[in-house]
Symmetry: C2
DNA sequence: CGATCAATTGAGCCGTCTCAATTTGGGTGG
DNA sequence: CCACCCAAATTGAGACGGCTCAATTGATCG
């Protein structure tokens, strides 16, 4: 259930997009920003549950999430799935397929979503006049490398309660950057998906939510979370609590 | 214990380097390859145990390992370490620091090693005349993203014996690509470092080696491994056994 | 309003960790 | 060159965290 939407002159452009502080343009000066507008020639609307791309699809673009949310997952020879990330608006999908221009993962919409299509051909052409663009992509790819390494640490070094705390705080931070509340948000993924991502079972996730709730760290009602004690969660996760949280 | 070595006209260059099929030049046509030679202006010799860079150091280059081996590791606020990779010749270090040009990890030599320094300024300048260079770096960064995602799967979905099998097979594959035997090699890292990397304790690693040895999967003598049954190891790890192994 | 899927909760088991004791090997100085 | 020392690795016993299997409740959606 994909719907491709051509971008017309009066559509939203990078230069006027609310997400430009987070997305590809992050930190680019205004004049350069205006040149970016030709890069996005189309967008894709995704219904909940539908794929943006699949394993082994050819890569001809990377995608910036404009609205909604997306999960990305690996699938091995035995059919085993590992979710590698949950994307929020302003984040980029498809950067893992650039070695051989073949996707090595699946990307699936967790809710109705929309992505901006950045065709690599167009990207490289524009980058000839706007070299900074290469730097921007490099920064985003570097960020994804960091993110992956951090998750390695989460999976390799933390116990279940710490993993879930770290996960919730990470969601909270990213939603805050988007202008939402750090405290209350809706999880767009199931307990099973959280568990898969964190290397735990859905039962463990459910039990931890119940326990955190009993301990007054949060309230949870289905997928609606309210974080009640950010400092305590940070202490659990072993991360510093950002000052804005006090 | 770092020693910087300027690259002179008669030094080894990318165009004549044995590693060019694996390293930055991978898949580049000859004429373009020759232009690469000016990129590497110096190399660094590292004594065993000494750092290539540290957390929070400014990033002015990325590094291609020329000989030896290097581990990279994260360190969190509590001092907790997570090893994120063991680099072999032809592989690149420092690509995780490009978001803000500040290193977010440590890189330490596991044995006496040598790296080629690719200054980012020089890189971007050269890329103006050789646009393919940007694509090459993109491919290498994409490869690192993949590698990290695969490790997420290893940590999130596999049991201890599967993790160690996957680790050994991965080493075997990469050493094979360098022209070494798929069967016999020397582990340059301790049991503790393997365990840290795989999210297990050193005792578990030691026990697994003993068990694998008892089961005839391999022979191990300190850090000298001989893999005796690649298909069985692949079956354990849940990966397809490459044809050359039969 | 039933059907179906998601989430919760419990009981028991298993894998990995922790703590501790030994053994082995490599490096150093007498 | 040998004796010693220290770090690395092995092995065992017991504890515990997270998993499996199973039953039940609670949402959501035709």
């Amino acid at each position: 259930m994909q719907k491709r939407i051509p971008v017309t002159a009066d559509s939203m452009r990078c230069s006027t997009c609310m997400l430009s502080e987070l997305c590809l343009p992050l930190g680019m000066p205004k004049p350069e920003l205006n040149k970016l507008d030709d890069l996005i020639q189309e967008r894709i609307r995704l219904k909940k549950g539908s794929p943006l791309f699949h394993l082994a699809d050819p890569v001809e673009a990377v995608y910036a999430l404009r609205s909604g949310s997306i999960k990305t997952q690996l699938e091995d020879a035995t059919g085993q799935i590992q979710i590698t990330g949950f994307l929020l608006p302003g984040e980029i999908a498809g950067m893992d397929g650039l070695l051989d221009n073949k996707h090595v993962s699946h990307a699936l919409a967790l809710e109705d979503s929309e992505v901006c299509v950045m065709r690599l051909d167009d990207f490289d052409e524009l980058a000839m006049q706007l070299p900074m663009l290469q730097t921007q992509l490099r920064r985003l790819m570097s960020k994804e490398i960091n993110r992956s390494h951090s998750i390695m640490m989460t999976l390799g070094a933390l116990r279940s309660e710490q993993r879930l705390a770290a996960f919730l705080l990470n969601m909270s931070d990213r939603l805050t950057a988007l202008g939402y509340s750090p405290y209350e948000f809706l999880l767009r993924m199931s307990r099973e998906e959280i568990g898969n991502f964190l290397g735990l079972t859905l039962e463990t996730i459910s039990r931890l939510f119940s326990r955190f709730s009993r301990e007054g760290l949060l309230e949870i009602q289905q997928r609606e979370v309210k974080l009640l004690n950010l400092p305590a969660l940070h202490q659990l996760a072993g991360t510093a609590c950002p000052s804005h949280a006090y």
